[in-house]
Symmetry: C2
Subunit: 452 residues, 2 copies
C-alpha cells in the first residue's frame, strides 16, 4: 500500500469522514435532540463503545449477531463494538438501577457499528440519538416520547414529515386470525414479511406470507391479512373500526385498539400547532424483529418518498430481562443521526454555511497584536471571526472569501497608530477606511461599545 | 457468567458509564470547546473510530502500538480503533487536501481507545477535543491556538489554571550541549526522562540521564542540564536570558528563543483580561515522544496540584508526511475531555444539577392532556419541565423532588374545568391554588402570556 514511501491515505469501506459543512449538519441534528430532550426532562447518559461480547450478542437476531464487530482484546476477553444503543442501555439500567430514579427518561447520542453490506446512505459506522422512558407503562409515556421526537424533527428544520404509528399486538391478532397461526416463530416470519411492504410491494409480501408453512389458510389467508391492513379511512389512516369489526370479541386486541386510539387522539390534540407533522395510523408498521409489545412507529420525510424511516421505535415490556429479574417496561425511539444527515444532504440543506462572519486581515507584521485585539472584540460580541496569519494581503482576502466571510477588516502600521481599521463588506463590495474603534462593531451590525 | 439464567451486567475494565450528572459535565466541556472554537473560526470535522491498522500503527512509538485495539474484521482486513485524533487527522488532511482551504483550522471532538493499564482517573476509552491550525508556520498560529484553548478552559469555569509553555528546539539544544549528545535516539531518551520530572522528581530524572550511554559528560552533564532547566526568574518562569547566555552563539536556538519570547509576549498582552490564566515559561516541558518541533505546552489546574495536564500540545513541522509529499506545518492542542471531567468531579463541580425545573403532577387521569398542554407551554418558554405519568400524587411529588424540580404544578378534574393550576414552590414550601392560565408562567418567574 506504499507509494514512493508513502502510505495511501484511505478509509475502510462503509466509513466516512465528515468535512466541516457536513459535520455542522451533524451537530445541527444532535443539538436539536439535546435541546428538546433537556426541555422535556430527558437525562443524558453515556455507555462505552466496547462491551463484553456476551452482553451484546444474541439480542438482535442471527443476522445482527453476524454483523457485530467482535474481537479478542489484550486481556484475552471476547469484546464487541455496540451495534445499537438499546442493548448497552439495558445493561446500564440493570447495573445502575439503584442510582436511577424511575420512571427514568434517558437521552443518549452515540455512534454504533455494524458490518453490514454498504449501500447508498448506509454506513458501517453511524450515529443514533435515543430517547426512552423506562419503568412506566402508560399512554402518557408513549405520548411524551412521540411528542419530544416530533419537536426534535421540527427543530432540525428540514420541512414536513409523517409519523406513522401502528400497534404490534393489533397486528399480531390480525396475523393469527387471518393465517390461522398460533406459533410465535411463524408470527415473526409474517412480521418480517410485512416489514418489507413499503420496500418490495404487496405482491411480493403476499408470496412470502403464502410460503409460511404454518399459514393454514394459504393464499386466502395472505389476501385477507393484506386486505385488512390496506383498508383506509377518508383521511388515509388504517381503518381501525373495520379491523375491530373483523377481529370481533378478541378482548386483548380490543384493549390494544382502545389504547392506540387514545394515544393518537392525545397526540393529535397536542400537536395541532405543529404544522410540519402529519400523524398517520398505519397498522402495517411491523418494525421487523425486536422486542416491541405496544405502539410501533416510523417517520418519513414528505419531500423524500422512498428514502425510508429517519426516526423509529416503540413500546417494549421488558427492557433488561437478560440482566435482571426486575420488570422494566418502557417506550423509546431513535433518530437516525446519519440517516437524517444523508437526507439533509439530499435536500441540499448543508451547503451554504460560512466558517467565519468576519476576517481580520493583517497588512503588516507589526499589526498582528492589534489584529488579535480586534478579533477578540468581535468574538466577544458573539460573531465568528477568523484572523490572518501572515502572507500577502491579497491571499488573505482570497482566503477570507473562501471561508465565506461577510466582512474583512484590514489593519496595518497606520491603523495601529490611529487605532482605526478598514472594513470591507464582501457582499456589497463597499469599503470604509479609518473606522474608529468605537464605530467598528456598529459597522459589523453589532451593538456599539468601545471595546478596544 | 450467568446467575439464575441472567447475564451479569458488567463493564470492561477501564470503561465507564456516564450517569446524568457526569454526562452533563461532559457536555459542559465539549460545548465550551465548540462555542469558542466556532467563534474563532475553527471548523468541525469527524473521522471514523476504525481505520486500517497501517494508518494508525508506527506513529506513537512502540509503547503506543502495543496499546492499540486492533483486530481482523469480517473482510479479513487488519483494522484498529484510533488511539488519538491526530494520526487519523493526518490521513484526513492528506486525503481531502483538495477540498480544504489552507491554513485550515480544525476542531474535532471524539473518543479514542488505548489498552493501557488503568489507574485512578485514567480510562481505556476517553474523549479528546483537538484544535489545530494546519498549513501555517507563524507565531500568530501558535498564539491563536493557545488563546482559544485558554478561552475554552475559562468558559468551562472550574477556576484558575496555569499554561506552561516550553520550546522543543531550545530544550534539544540544551540536551545536546550539556550531555554532549548528537544522536536523535539518545536525545529522545533524554526527553522521555525530562517528561517525568513533575512526576518522579529531579533525582530520579538525573539517574535516568546518567544511564543514557551517549551522555559523554555523565553525572556532570545531567547536573548541568537540570541546573540550566531549573534556573528561575523572580516571576517563577524559566530564565531564558541565562539559558541564552549558556547556549551562546547557537544560531538555531537563538532564533527559537526569540520566537518563544515573542509568542509569550503576545499571549501575555492578549490574555491580560483573563484573570483565571497564569502563563508560565517552562523549558522543562518535553511532551515525551511525539513530533513536536516548536512550542510545547501543558495545562494544570491550580486547585489540583499533582493532578497532571488537562490540555496540552505544541507545534509540529510536518503533520502528514507519512501520507503525502506536501509539507503541512501546524500547531495544535488537545483538551483531555475525561481528564478534565475527572477534575470537575474531584472539585465537586458535578453534583447539584437538576433534571427539571418544573414538574407537572397529574391528580386525575382525565387531566393528562391538560397537564401536557401546561408542560408544553412551560417548555416553550425555555424551562425544563417533566410531567407525571400516572400513579399516586404523593409518589409524583417524591419523584419531582428527586429530580430537583423547583416548582410542582398540580392539575386534576377541577383545574381542567376552571383552566387553572396549583403551583407549589418546593424550595420555599409555599403553594398557590387556582392560578389562572395567564398567571401561571409569571408564577414560574417567566414572562406573562396567555398560553393555554
Amino acid at each position: 500500500m506504499s507509494k514512493g514511501g508513502k502510505i495511501e491515505p484511505r478509509r475502510l469501506k462503509g466509513f466516512r469522514d465528515y468535512l466541516p459543512a457536513v459535520m455542522r449538519g451533524r451537530y445541527r441534528i444532535s443539538d436539536a435532540v439535546r435541546f428538546e430532550a433537556e426541555l422535556a426532562g430527558f437525562q443524558p447518559v453515556g455507555t462505552p463503545a466496547l462491551e463484553y461480547a456476551e452482553i451484546l450478542l444474541g439480542q438482535g437476531g442471527e443476522e445482527t449477531d453476524k454483523q457485530v464487530y467482535k474481537f479478542t482484546d489484550h486481556g484475552d476477553r471476547q469484546v464487541a463494538l455496540r451495534f445499537d444503543l438499546t442493548v448497552p442501555f439495558a445493561r446500564f439500567v440493570a447495573e445502575h438501577q439503584g442510582e436511577l430514579t424511575f420512571p427514568f427518561k434517558r437521552m443518549q447520542i452515540g455512534d454504533v457499528w455494524r458490518g453490514e453490506n454498504t449501500q447508498k446512505g448506509r454506513y458501517r459506522e453511524f450515529g443514533q440519538c435515543d430517547l426512552d422512558i423506562i419503568g412506566n407503562d402508560s399512554v402518557a409515556a408513549d405520548v411524551e416520547v412521540l411528542l419530544t421526537l416530533a419537536r426534535i424533527l421540527k427543530r432540525v428544520g428540514f420541512g414536513k414529515f409523517t409519523v406513522a404509528v401502528g400497534h404490534r399486538p393489533v397486528l399480531s391478532a390480525l396475523i393469527r386470525k387471518t393465517l390461522g397461526i398460533t406459533d410465535v416463530q411463524a408470527e415473526t416470519q409474517a412480521l418480517i414479511a410485512l416489514d418489507k411492504l413499503a420496500k418490495i410491494g404487496a405482491d411480493k409480501v403476499r408470496e412470502m406470507l403464502v410460503k409460511i408453512p404454518e399459514n393454514i389458510h394459504g393464499e386466502a389467508g395472505a389476501a385477507a391479512l393484506l386486505g385488512q391492513l390496506q383498508q383506509k379511512t377518508a383521511t388515509g389512516d388504517s381503518d381501525l373500526a373495520a379491523v375491530q369489526a373483523f377481529l370481533g370479541s378478541d378482548e386483548a386486541s380490543g384493549a390494544s385498539m382502545q389504547r392506540l386510539k387514545h394515544t393518537l387522539d392525545l397526540l393529535r390534540q397536542l400537536t395541532a400547532d405543529l404544522s410540519e407533522l402529519t400523524l398517520r395510523l398505519d397498522l402495517t408498521i411491523a418494525r421487523g424483529l425486536g422486542y416491541y409489545t405496544g405502539i410501533v412507529f416510523e417517520t418519513t420525510i414528505d419531500a423524500l418518498p422512498g428514502f425510508g424511516s429517519i426516526c423509529s421505535g416503540g413500546r417494549y415490556n421488558d427492557l433488561a430481562s437478560r440482566f435482571t429479574t426486575r420488570e422494566l417496561p418502557g417506550v423509546g425511539g431513535s433518530v437516525g443521526l446519519d440517516r437524517l444527515l444523508a437526507a439533509l444532504e439530499e435536500l441540499n440543506q448543508l451547503s451554504d454555511v460560512r466558517s467565519a462572519e468576519v476576517f481580520v486581515a493583517v497588512a503588516t507584521a507589526d499589526a498582528q497584536a492589534y489584529a488579535f485585539t480586534i478579533a477578540q472584540a468581535v468574538r466577544g460580541n458573539g460573531m465568528a471571526c477568523d484572523i490572518g496569519l501572515g502572507g500577502k494581503l491579497s491571499n488573505q482576502f482570497k482566503h477570507a472569501d473562501r471561508l465565506g466571510a461577510r466582512f474583512v477588516i484590514t489593519v496595518g502600521t497606520d491603523e495601529v497608530v490611529s487605532r482605526t481599521a478598514n472594513v470591507k463588506d464582501m457582499k456589497l463590495g463597499t469599503e470604509k477606511k479609518g473606522v474608529s474603534s468605537d464605530q467598528l462593531l456598529q459597522e459589523l451590525k453589532l451593538s456599539d461599545s468601545d471595546v478596544f
